[in-house]
Symmetry: C2
Subunit: 326 residues, 2 copies
């Protein structure tokens, strides 16, 4: 299977590494908006191409993994490319998924191509687990906790404050809230009760630390609804202790069964990830396999992880899967 990468940031690099872990895949190359000569891949024999030339390689690429941002890149890239390639993306603006789906679906069907959008862990594996758990336990409640992990968006918001040189923000789930959920109490939880926010900030020399802390803690949407802690540290300390991109979280469904709904059940799916982009990349790569297989079977148009069966993403054949994994 010839796989190509479109966009070479953290996610694209993660995809490159993940492809090496899958014996049925070869990296055809990386397409970039930058000068191709400015990039060096870690994969021998794979080339860097300019995005502008991509249509020349229509017949050489089995699946194209689009590694752009959800804000402005993917809404344009994925529909455009879906007409010419089997594509997969990690579009994660939850509210805009239906619109994105429709645009991609239309284009993919024109070209008899298959697209799978919003692949990753949330949306992605978390969504899949929400759907499974809801189908199994129709009478119940859903809970999602994120972290402990780095929120890039919140880190960026802090960096935009006057006097801030650098920052890293961690989203932290509240353990006592998770315990209540796991015990089947079905609590109603406010935003503040579910997560706290820990900020590590490097201030510019002479900056007003009190003002920075106040601006962070009162920032609408990002911090005002949370218990937020701000710790000022040096650039050296941030570089040493906070350069990773860990993340994770847990999806829990609690539900009842029985003649009088007298029995409680808890279904829990938990991820603990050293590298958010590399894990997302690993999910993208195995769903790229499903994308190609679905296209071979004539299943054209746009799909999501909800339309893919477990065996479609596995390198192992069905007979062996039944023997060793069922």
């Amino acid at each position: 299977m010839q796989v190509a990468i479109y966009g070479y940031g953290n996610l694209g690099k993660g995809v490159e590494n993940a492809i090496k872990q899958n014996a049925d895949m070869t990296l055809f190359g990386v397409f970039t908006r930058r000068n191709p000569e400015s990039l060096t891949l870690s994969t021998k024999d794979a080339k860097v191409y300019s995005c502008d030339d991509i249509l020349k390689y229509k017949d050489d690429i089995d699946v194209l993994i689009i590694c752009g941002g959800s804000a402005t890149d993917l809404p344009e890239m994925t529909p455009y490319l879906a007409e010419h390639f089997n594509v997969i993306d990690s579009f994660d603006t939850h509210a805009d998924i239906p619109k994105h789906f429709d645009l991609v679906d239309e284009k993919a069907k024109i070209g008899n191509k298959t697209a799978i959008i919003s692949v990753g862990w949330d949306p992605g594996m978390f969504s899949l687990n929400r759907v499974l758990a809801n189908a199994i336990l129709p009478d119940g409640n859903d809970y999602t906790f994120w972290g402990k992990g780095v929120s890039q968006g919140h880190s960026d918001a802090i960096r935009r404050i006057d006097g801030v040189q650098d920052a890293r923000q961690y989203t932290v789930p509240v353990e006592s809230a998770m315990s209540k959920v796991r015990s089947g109490l079905n609590p109603t939880l406010t935003t503040r009760e579910k997560h706290t926010r820990e900020c590590f900030v490097v201030a510019k020399e002479g900056a007003d630390l009190e003002r920075i802390e106040r601006e962070i803690k009162t920032m609408p949407k990002y911090f005002a609804d949370y218990d937020t802690t701000v710790t000022f540290i040096s650039q050296e300390e941030l570089d040493k202790n906070h350069k990773g991109i860990p993340h994770g979280g847990v999806v829990i469904r609690t539900g009842k069964t029985g003649k009088d709904l007298e029995n409680n059940h808890v279904i829990e799916y938990k991820l603990t990830l050293d590298s958010n982009p590399e894990f997302t990349a690993s999910v993208l790569v195995c769903y790229a396999r499903a994308c190609y297989r679905k296209n071979q079977k004539g299943e054209f148009g746009c799909k999501t992880v909800l339309d893919v069966s477990p065996s479609e993403i596995s390198l192992i054949d069905n007979e062996t899967l039944r023997k060793i994994m069922l």
Copy 2:
């Protein structure tokens, strides 16, 4: 969707309750090997039929949920019934799944019917999670822990000992072993290191308690390879505190990604169940939906949970799923 139940033990009763929780399903009736008049259903308008008459109702039943035992019932029942009905079962003898699959597949294809076998939580949701996690993290290790929960087979084995009146056995996962796994240490664990076995035993009057305890602890396969505790209690206490059928467990995959496989990830799927048969029944019922849908689409033959997509088991339509669950 008209659903029928074949067999009315704990599992069949669980299926009856679960059907009531799913608005698109109606219980057509229950088929039993016992005298139909000896059973009283909790569902109004549903009838009890003799197993011998089932072929008369070929055109009235959309899916038949077979609730028999894996040792002797299902190997005969499922292939026989799969020729005439869309069927689903919870066959859980892992080693015999390939053979069972082939027998059912052949019969279902003759009748243009669809069967889904080995549905439940292990095999079932645990298998599904093993396959997904292995596809996402090809370089890694799998761990499954069971419990805390009642093992019916081990309880029965104790009851067969001379001098034992009643017994209940709990399988308990070793917390320190699970912690090691979750921390990414990739330990190699012996049987003894993974689970302990707690036995609550009611002895007959005058029985030799020391002999009973010794016979339990040295019983090959069942207990000899485990750290086992035996506690003698009264029948009253057993009836009061040990009549539930809780179970559960956790499937963990730890794996590595990155250029030099330097990043660790943990994927964990955990079930905590008040009632083992009722949860299994709930899984059977939503996969019955998928079974019927696959038959409508012309997907004949035998399938497993590995061949079913999340949206196929959901009562909610795909467009709404994408909007609210993705």
